[in-house]
Amino acid sequence: MSVPDYMQCAEDHQTLLVLVRPVGGVSEENFFRIYRRICTVSHPGVRDSQRALCIRYRHHYPPENNEWGDFQTHRKVVGLIAVADCCSAKDWPQAVEKFHVQKEAYGATLYDSRLLVFGLRGELAEPPRPDVAFYPSYDDCATVEKRVEDFIESLFIVLESKRLDRATDKSGDKIPLLCVPFEKKDFVGLDTDSSPVSVLLGLKRHYKKRCQGRMRKHVGDLCLQAGMLQDSLVHYHMSVELLRSVNDFLWLGAALEGLCSASVIYHYPGGTSGKTGARRFQGSSLPAEAANRHRPGAQEVLIDPGALTANGINPDTSAEIGRAKNCLSPEDIIDKYKEAISYYSKYKNAGVIELEACVKAVRVLAIQKRSMEASEFLQNAVYINLRQLSEEEKIQRYSILSELYELIGFHRKSAFFKRVAAMQCVAPSIAEPGWRACYKLLLETLPGYSLSLDPKDFNKGTHRGWAAVQMRLLHELVYASRRMGNPALSVRHLSFLLQTMLDFLSDQEKKDITQSLETYTSKCPGTMELITLPDGLTLPPVPFTKLPIVRRVELLGLPASLRPQKMKSLLGQSMSTKSPFIYSPIIAHNRGEERNKKIDFQWVQGDVCEVQLMVYNPMPFELRVENMGLLTSGVEFESLPAALSLPAESGLYPVTLVGVPQTTGMITVHGYHTTVFGVFSDCLLDHLPGIKTSGSTVEVIPALPRLQISTSLPRSAHSLQPSSGDEISTNVSVQLYNGETQQLIVKLENIGMEPLEKLEVTSKILTTKEKLYGDFLSWNLEETLAQFPLQPGKVATFTVNIKVKLDFSCQENLLQDLSDDGISVSGFPLSSPFRQVVRPRVESKPVNPPESSRAGDFSHVKTLEAILNFKYSGGPGHVEGYYRSLSLGLHVEVEPSVFFTRVSTLPATSTRQCHLLLDVFNSTEHELTISARSNEELILHAGECQRMAIQVDKFNFESFPVPPGEKGQFANAEQLEEERREAWGLEINSKLDIRWRVPSLQRSGEASVEGLLNQLVLEHLQLAPLQWDVLVDGQLCDCEAAAACQVGDPVRLEVRLTNRSPRSVGPFALTVVPFQDHQNGVHNYDLHDTISFVGSSTFYLDAVKPLGQSACLGALLFLYAGDFFLHIRFHEDSRSKELPPSWFCLPSVHVRALEAQA
């Protein structure tokens, strides 16, 4: 006996073995159809009996196993059913022939046999035989089962007769010795009957016991097969006792095993094989759940199925109690199995029996849930050395071991043996390696290594399972699938290996794996499709989320110049219309959550959008990632894939993926796709562990035009100081002299696909310390707008005037000069004695200062920066209320042109006018001309300083419009004053209209005095609110021209006061002091003899109300001819002191008295 039946289980001991064989041209398909139908008759009831039979059908049974039939009767083929196919009567004899051949092969053990013939209708001449049945076809054979049942009944009758025959044969005259095949030769020639030697040695008694014991055991087997469990137990017990006494170990083992089997059948009616759970006694009403438990109280009361009669339970309980001892307890079963196996192991030839016993014991233990002991049995089974096994047998053996280990819950061992079986399938000694079977077996080992082929299972938490063995298994899967000729499968497995085991791979392994992966994918690229294996297993796609590893995904807004902005509606964009409350904690909370998800910028249809990924390459070599693009939904999106090459073990590396949304709506970025080593991967962000993302849904708004600007000025590398989040797309710079004006021509080109319909231009001057006078930037938008709408590709121009007017003063120097020259601005009349002191300063005065110190101050270049902001819109985006803005940065370097180093005033001859004296310094390196009003040009060489005097009318500042009211409300008094002064400055400047020109550079500009007018100067330039008019003889005396009068005639003198100030002034006392100027610095006041006053020389003026007028009259009488001056002097009085002295600047009167002409 050499072929073990690994599927055996304890309850097989009660079965009758029936062989079903095809004879004569039966197709395999038809044979198995019939075989399956025959197999359904496995537990036929036996007529007139409560006993149950079990039939075990085999379609193949090695005859040498049959030879062990005496040892254990269930190994004996007792029935033969032959299936024959006869198309015609001609085939018939051949079929019968074959049938007989089969019968002969198993003839020694057969109880009965049958031949089922298909295709004939019994139209044979021969007389009908009882052991042959005819069926016209495979479909028309309804009575097959019935016939099989009849056949089994006949088998039972034979069995029963044999049992009775042997059981009652108690005479003991001559019991034959039952032998196993290998024993036969040992007993040849051993005449146990007559030899006196044997009698002497007591061998005869010994031999007889042996015969008896073996026969008992045999009867026990027959009883068990015949369904008489209790009887069999009794026989086995007796057999055990007999055989133990003669040390017949092999048969003792068999008897013990029989005992175990019978007990197992009793305790576990559900069977131990685990597969055919339905195998149980017919008529048994045990509930299914009880099937695998042993019966409660089995030790106390035993109900013998064999004792059941139609009358019920046998009343003789004493017999039953006696039998109770016969049945083994579950623990004893195992002990007895152990014992039996230990006996078997003494015989090398009984290896198969031992092995099968082990297997049977394991199944029992599995049911008893005693895994540890089961594993010991299995361990033993592993080391049972059978003869040289064929490769197929080895595979079978390992598979069975694996199954058994699985059965006892040892999944890892099970997996181990399954893997060994798989390897056996493709052992080098096999001519045709069964890669397919190997692969299939390998797949079955996966759970044992806690490995699933779904990469998603590896995303969560730490790695599970034993990486080293898992890797090995995956390698084997790859290899097997490749040899199977399924490259797609091997690519999938290899990808899986690379993706999930990356952390455990050494650098060399990484290299090797990727190389082989590339080799495979060159023939069959890896896809994202589910691979379904023929046996229904599906292999999910393996996206390479670790090649490269993505750490962060960030959707990027459009660059500032292209970022769409929503036009503010009247209600305000941010106002939530859902709630009437301005603030509610609930709403705020919700909004916070929303904000996390949603991104606060928009993408624009048709414009390239970017997503930035921070990636790194975990590989020890350069990683080439091709075809990397975005996976999106919600909006039609044209992804523009990128290819990148990451250096080995790179740090975080930014990668920007781009695409163009083609429609509008909400777009969600789900992930990205890559092609690495020829494997396509779709990596979804949800499945990436440890990824940082700031939201992945963004709104795509309708298309907007795109504006590109270019200017007439050179671009500059200067970047403006970043302020208020304005991002400048272009910077231009220009160098100007202070006061110069330049035109900036901006070309607006629509480079988008939509017409540009709206344009708004605003400017913003960046905070600068410099004080700026006048409009820095000015433009006229109408001309440009006339060219709108601007179609794609068209250009419009737009002109901006840049005017720089910074302070022209040279501050600290100016102050210094003013302080030592304070007198020059005092309110004394022209004829004051100090005039001479002032006058010399009017002449030209070349400045020869130490160049080093002053040059630094003057050549200081100042910088002005401004942003021109173009808001534009058009196309569908405009309809939706979006616009874009583009900023142009303007960088102006202002070089000083001229400086006014000093300013002062001189009273002019008229009280309504005065001279403004300006010391002008040319700080350029060129010759420069300067002119004011209609004055002629003054030429200044580089670095030269000259004084220029400009005669100006005094200003009546009171009449200026008050600065706009709303400002005044907020500003304090200081600011108001400041503004007023600015307005005055502007007015003065516009009157002065000072211009400079650099002929060599062809450049010209203005100069402004606004910054250098201080309070003192302003007061002098201001028309005093008290307007004094002196009339001599009814004529207004205001200029240097002398009023003429005749000696002797009284001259009327009238002093008139017009009050323009907002307050009432006066009363004043004025004294007229006449004097003569000798033109040599001597004033002669002693004129009592020459001039006589008619009336008083002192006038009194009443208080003058605002806008009121007052006048006083007097008369003078000149006694001699001559030139006289009248000085009208105030009487100092406390009140008038409150008013500025310049208010009391009365014109001096020059009177020329002439000889009366007769």
Binding site: S371, M372, S375, Q379, Y383, Y405, G409, F410, H411, R412, K413, F416, Y449, S450, T462, H463, R464, G465, W466, A467, A468, V469, R472
Partner: protein
């Protein structure tokens, strides 16, 4: 003589494995891996019986053709190993669940493999 010593995490992967015949390491991997079935079985059986009383020594796992596999070697040797393992766990820079990469532990294991015969 100990030929292979492994420390297994409770999630059934090796924290540490070292064997002296280095050329056939995978064999030991398989051996230790399959032995875990027995450990599982023993622990689950123990869980029912003795909850508190932890028996650290589980006994012989199973004899293979060439070697005997113990969940941990008896007596003094085991104590040494366990103490060393405790030291590793006490290392504040050790992340539970990571592989053990400690030179001290390494040396201890090596000494055990050489010494004990």
């Amino acid at each position: 003589m100990a030929v292979c010593i492994a420390v297994i995490a409770k999630e059934n992967y090796p924290l540490y494995i070292r064997s002296t015949p280095t050329e056939n390491e995978l064999k030991f991997h398989y051996m230790v891996h399959t032995s875990l079935d027995v450990v599982d079985e023993k622990i689950s059986a123990m869980g029912k019986a003795l909850v508190d009383q932890r028996e650290l020594y589980l006994g012989l796992l199973y004899p293979t053709e060439d070697y005997k596999v113990y969940p941990s070697v008896p007596s003094r040797m085991f104590r040494k190993l366990h103490n060393s393992y405790t030291d590793v766990m006490c290392n504040p820079f050790y992340n539970p669940g990571d592989r053990i990469q400690s030179r001290a532990f390494d040396n201890m294991v090596m000494s055990m493999m050489i010494q004990v015969c």
